[in-house]
Amino acid sequence: MRYRTRILIDKLFKGIFKTTGFLVLALLGGIFAMLVYNSVSFFLDIKPLDFITGMEWAPTAKVPKYGMLPLIISTTFVTLGAMIIAIPLGIGTAAFISEYAGKRLKNILKPAIEMLAAIPSVVIGFLGIVVVSPGIANMADLPNGLNALNGAILLAIMALPTIITVAEDAIHAVPNAYKEASYGVGATKWQTLRKVIIPAAAPGIIAAVMLGVGRAIGETMTVLMATGNASLIPSGMFDSVKTMTATIAIEMGEVPYQTTHYYALYAIATVLFFMTLFANLVGEFFINRFRKYHAV
């Protein structure tokens, strides 16, 4: 090939590669613009304060009510429940894999965690209906087990692989010198783990938890299938809840385009976007701190 054609092709592809880089920026910008545009259309009808603090979500009632507080509380409720289950299990498992398991056990456990991560959310939601729900109904003597507790258990399962993987990386990255110093002054393995390794890995572990939270808040199918979807403010884990994601999933299929209700769902999505963004940014902040700390 002639030299000039080769140079031309080289330049052309450099342009193509660069364009795709900018298109990624455009994608995030596009998602953001879509959320803002539709939310603004909604806030022309409904005051933002009424939306955030309203106690009732009844968009199809005669006098429609667009208060998203029940949805926010439901999402928080289910996510908190999931974290109460997933944090001890996740950190315990991460510590076990990193510090106690031998090489052969590690080679079984790590793929097992990856398998758990690979199971589609709709399958976990299905198991919420056929396994967890009857289980809860039996134990608590309820007509059915589609409630916040069910959603929390399923979300814990969904968040566990993220928490375990990131926390395990953090614990694994603690320099051996720390451990050796601790053993050197006579500390046991457990004391070393609790007083030296976990504190040294703390930023990484916090990051793991925050990434798990981000995953749980944004998860749709499991909560949609397993929490019963009653849009009331829940008073306990045995109450049925309707999270923000589930509300969008259920109602978007039914509303006519470009009505207040339609825009309201985009407004919920905007709040959801910022909640997950916040969780992920906090997670990222701690990951960076952890890296800096151990680079020194």
Partner: protein, 285 residues
């Protein structure tokens, strides 16, 4: 404290950590056991080769299987070239300036955006703005957007593993930068890229939320596979059979069978990825 009590407590402590690990494994075992033991009886050649019939209470799941295969194909055709090109730009061309850092931050953000929001974006962009309607192509492109950040990240990691001396050798014998990438860098990074691509596609194949409003249909009679029409997909079929169908108890065996097929598809894709990675590591050593 005495040494003996120390020894006893260390066993207890070890047991505590072991039990958390066992609980996590228990979750996995229960999931797989429930799906396999109850789904295996509905699994047969008829089940995967026949279309649903009699209000989906009889017949197989051929239509959703075709839908999921085509959907994943569109996702791959869109996301792989796009994602790989972007990763090449970031790893081979981009300088470390504010623009590059912004693009990287955007990618990290995109991977944290909930899948339902991608669904809304697909609805606003492909279904409404670009007038594709609720269709296979709209849903495939939506899943493609969702897959992008993962493909970019894994591809970039694969490119990073290629030592700079490889590139320098190609440049030194007179190859242009593009020729270096096309003939030297990409072939050496191929298995790493493939691993990431296959894992991403297995995730996309199991996604439900993004296709809810962009084209997945409750039931399609007759021919399927037109990219401008609605389609049935395995994950949506499972969702629908277990929550929306009018006789949920009657279709439960089909739901179990669908769940089993879906899990098998996802695990097979994952195994493929592990196999590629395993072979790659072996060659490297």
């Amino acid at each position: 404290m005495q040494y003996k009590t120390n020894k006893l407590s260390s066993v207890i402590e070890w047991g505590t950590l072991l039990s958390t690990t066992l609980i996590v494994c228990f979750f996995l075992i229960v999931i797989i056991w429930e799906i396999v033991s109850k789904g295996a009886s509905s699994l047969s050649w008829e089940f995967i080769s026949k279309v649903p019939s009699e209000g989906m209470t009889k017949g197989g799941i051929l239509t959703p299987i075709i839908g999921t295969v085509l959907l994943t194909l569109i996702t791959a055709l869109f996301a792989i070239p796009f994602g790989v090109c972007c990763a090449i730009y970031l790893n081979e061309y981009a300088e470390n300036n504010w623009l590059t850092r912004t693009i990287r931050a955007a990618i990290r953000n995109l991977s944290g955006v909930p899948s339902i929001i991608y669904g809304l974006f697909g609805l606003a962009l492909f279904v409404q703005a670009l007038q594709f309607g609720t269709s296979l192509i709209a849903a495939g492109l939506t899943l493609g957007l969702l897959s992008l950040p993962y493909i970019i990240t894994t591809t970039e990691e694969a490119l990073k593993r290629i030592p700079n001396s490889t590139r320098e050798a190609a440049l030194a014998v007179g190859a242009t930068k593009f020729e270096t990438i096309k003939d030297v860098v990409l072939p050496s990074a191929m298995s790493g890229i493939l691993t990431g691509v296959v894992l991403t596609l297995s995730r996309a194949a199991g996604e439900t939320a993004p296709i809810l409003f962009t084209g997945a249909a409750f039931y399609i009679n007759g021919s399927t596979g037109y990219i401008n029409q609605e389609f049935m997909a395995l994950p949506y079929h499972l969702y629908m059979l277990s929550t929306q169908h009018q006789s949920i108890d009657q279709v439960r065996p089909i739901a179990y069978g669908t769940a089993l097929v879906l899990v098998i598809v996802v695990f097979l894709l994952n195994l493929t990825a592990f196999y590629i990675r395993y072979k790659y590591r072996k060659n490297e050593n």
